[in-house]
Amino acid sequence: MAESDILTQTIHEIVQRHGGAPTRLLQILRDVQDRLTWLSPETMDRVAEELDLSPIKVRGVAEFYSFLYTAPRGSYDVLFSDNITDRMLGNRELLHYLCDRLGVHVGETRADGRVTVGTTSCTGMCDQGPAALVNGHALTRLDKPRLDRIVELVNRQTPLTEWPREFFEVASNIRRADILLGRHFADGAALRAVLKRRPEAILEEMVKSGLRGQGGAGFKSAAKWISCRNAPGEEKYVVCNADEGEPGTFKDRVLMQDFADLVFEGMTLCGRVIGARQGFVYLRGEYRYLLPSLQAHLQRRREVGLLGSDILGEPGFDFDIDIHLGAGAYVCGEESALIESLEGKHGVPRIRPPFPTTHGYLNQPTVVNNVETFAAAAKIAVEGGAWFASRGTAESKGTKLLSLSGDCERPGIYEYPFGVTVRRVLEDCGARDAQGIQMAGPAGHMISARQFDRRICFEDLATGGSFMVFSHRRDILDGVRNFAHFFVHESCGFCTPCRVGTSLLRDLVTKVHTGHGTRYDLEEMRKLGRIMQVACHCGLGQTAPNPVLDSLDQFPEAWERRLRSTAFEPAFDLDAALEQARQLTGRSDPDAYLREEELMLGAMP
């Protein structure tokens, strides 16, 4: 068969496996890339043909997601997780070590086409880093001996399936369990409860429980379910947001790894309550290693009558769950962007209102909840709303899973009743020397020791669960700069203030961090940050300046000590801007340089 025929055949098979549905476009592209290592223009055009889509649409999707490649890539694609917690664990040194050993530059593919080494946003292994992905599979606890082995495996072209299993071991590290993680849950108990007590009663328990969105936004879950249940629509959908992209959070990963049944049960319960027959788990691409076990769980649930048709023998109780894999786009954690992505499009947040509860997946009423929220809902259905509400604070009922990482002795998952103080958490995880905490990830808030008596709850410090500890030996600005880069990389580019503002902010942060900034630049950052906070289209852009603004307030000395005494500094390196001309002319006379001491820099009236 000719090469192009093989291509056509391969693509045809993959598209057919996905039922030829354009909503599966992202999944199809992922599968095609798995086979071909990258998506050539020809490949994308074939996919478009097979799906009867315009080629430009397929390319648009392919270009949007970080893990889809429209340029050739090595057969081994290694991406180092580049969160600040990985950096604390020395990932940069390892990255360069691996590149040296493999003879490849960061971000480039080796001449023989065998390997590419690059970086990616946080892979959610902050408690067991430095971490990386190889062909999308999570690698943990990297060190030089492990990298030496990897170099051998790559050079010998050993298939991934034959790599040592321990490289891919992902520990759960549950350090503290409360009502969610600690109590046994009998499979099917929540579904029996809803069949016995009817959806209305379950909704009452949900209301009583006071459960709020555990992704961090804190919207009352019962209100979402009720709104969706009451919304007119031909079909309704349940979506589990497992796109845990906030750097420093990994509790959903642990829930999906150790408590998948509880989560699926919560989704099925929701389906029964709102009248949906189809559920989706939107699993972040970085967690693809979980896919086989999740599929096995789903299959087992179908076999024992907890999923599929006539669940638990109840005629008409039909519900099934499909797993969609993301492909490296933080913005898809925003629920309307997630829905766009589920529909096979690039993940740009929609205009809201209308909200997903009335116009969600395929414009039908849809509940989108976080993984932890579904898990909690399943428990509430069994144990009752009052039981859940007995824990927590007035406005924040129940418990919260925290993902602890950074400078602490025992990183991992901690479940606390809402209202726990930051100080208590720090004591429990063995963070003796904390200078500051990045709460709720880069989009959250940076707090200093003065605020360690604050409480973790929606009334005070709201969080989706990320909790990164910076000890006194860290430079807070390393974190701020890392986060500024993160937001540039993850901005979807739809709205002006986020698309442009994130880059402007990154450049200002870099300028000051590298010792070229002045007080004027700090004021510029504040002004720009304030515009972004109110002007951006979605939460990503609105929260993107938080690390800068918070650190300016909480750690002014970290900025001050970097400042120059001058009133103003150029936006670029003047002398470096002459380097090209020096080379082209071969000049090295004194006038071929802009030496700082000879310039009247900062000589202000």
């Binding site: 430009i56 270009e63 205009i351 002006t496 203030p497 002004k527």
Partner: protein, 246 residues
């Protein structure tokens, strides 16, 4: 019933009908809210963020906010003017907007809105991106340097012309306008000057070939009166028989 519905905008009562947004209701009442990606003939897009107003104390895009009875809307405030100016400045440094070398100058909505919000200079550090010019089409030229990603041409070509010629690709600051052909060239499409997509660009990114600088400085669309009085270039051009440069 619908006559009873109204909201307050800068102290003025603005009536509205079901389905109207703050923007469309204000426009119908003759009140100008600066905007770029909004065009009354298309569904709101909400991407440029220039039309930000304060609705009941919260900053929101007027084009994407459904009008509701009793809303208190602020439009012309110093704070909003400063935010809008900041957004205009971001657009100016993101692309390459060399007004003296652009045929659209004087009848450019980007320019006119920038004048309106009092932008004297771009303020931020320029990106100076390297973007191509596509002169492959016999009648039109696309200068990607001037594209502000409002997606009006995308929407017009897809929803009105039924040609689906344009799209935005790439993420974040890499987002860019593309032409829907293998070569990426406009000349390989069935784009025509009669297309709606040829009429809606608020900047000089999509221009008619073989004419330019036809109207003397001082007599161009926005030379004498601000956009709040003159109206959008796309709208004005339509009423004058589809000539875009007037």
């Amino acid at each position: 019933m619908s006559e009873d519905q109204s909201f307050m905008l800068d102290g003025r009562r603005v009536p509205f009908q079901d389905g109207q947004t703050v923007m469309t209701a204000a426009l119908a009442a003759g009140i100008y809210i600066p905007h770029l990606c909004f065009n009354p003939e298309f569904a709101p897009h909400g991407s440029c963020r220039v039309c930000l107003v304060k609705v009941n104390g919260r900053v929101q895009a007027a084009c994407a906010t459904p009008a509701a009875s009793g809303q208190i809307v602020q439009n012309e405030t110093g704070e909003l003017r400063e935010i809008r100016r900041g957004i205009l400045q971001m657009l100016f440094v993101e692309g390459n907007h060399v007004c003296p070398a652009c045929e659209k100058s004087g009848a450019c909505q980007l320019q006119a809105v920038a004048y309106y919000v009092g932008m004297l200079a771009p303020h931020y550090t320029h990106f100076y991106p390297r973007r191509p010019v596509d002169a492959s089409h016999p009648e039109a030229v696309i200068d990607f340097n001037r594209c502000i990603l409002c997606e009006l041409c995308v929407r017009a070509s897809r929803d009105v012309d039924g040609k689906n010629i344009f799209a935005v690709q790439g993420r974040g600051i890499q987002a860019h306008l593309v032409v829907n052909t293998t070569s990426g060239k406009l000349g390989a499409t069935d784009f025509s000057l009669a297309d709606k997509a040829a009429q809606v660009c608020p900047t000089g990114a999509i221009l008619t070939k073989h004419r330019g600088y036809e109207i003397p400085i001082g007599q161009r669309l926005y030379d004498r009166k601000p956009i709040s009085v003159v109206g959008d270039v796309a709208t004005v051009a339509e009423s004058k028989g589809g000539r875009r440069h007037e």
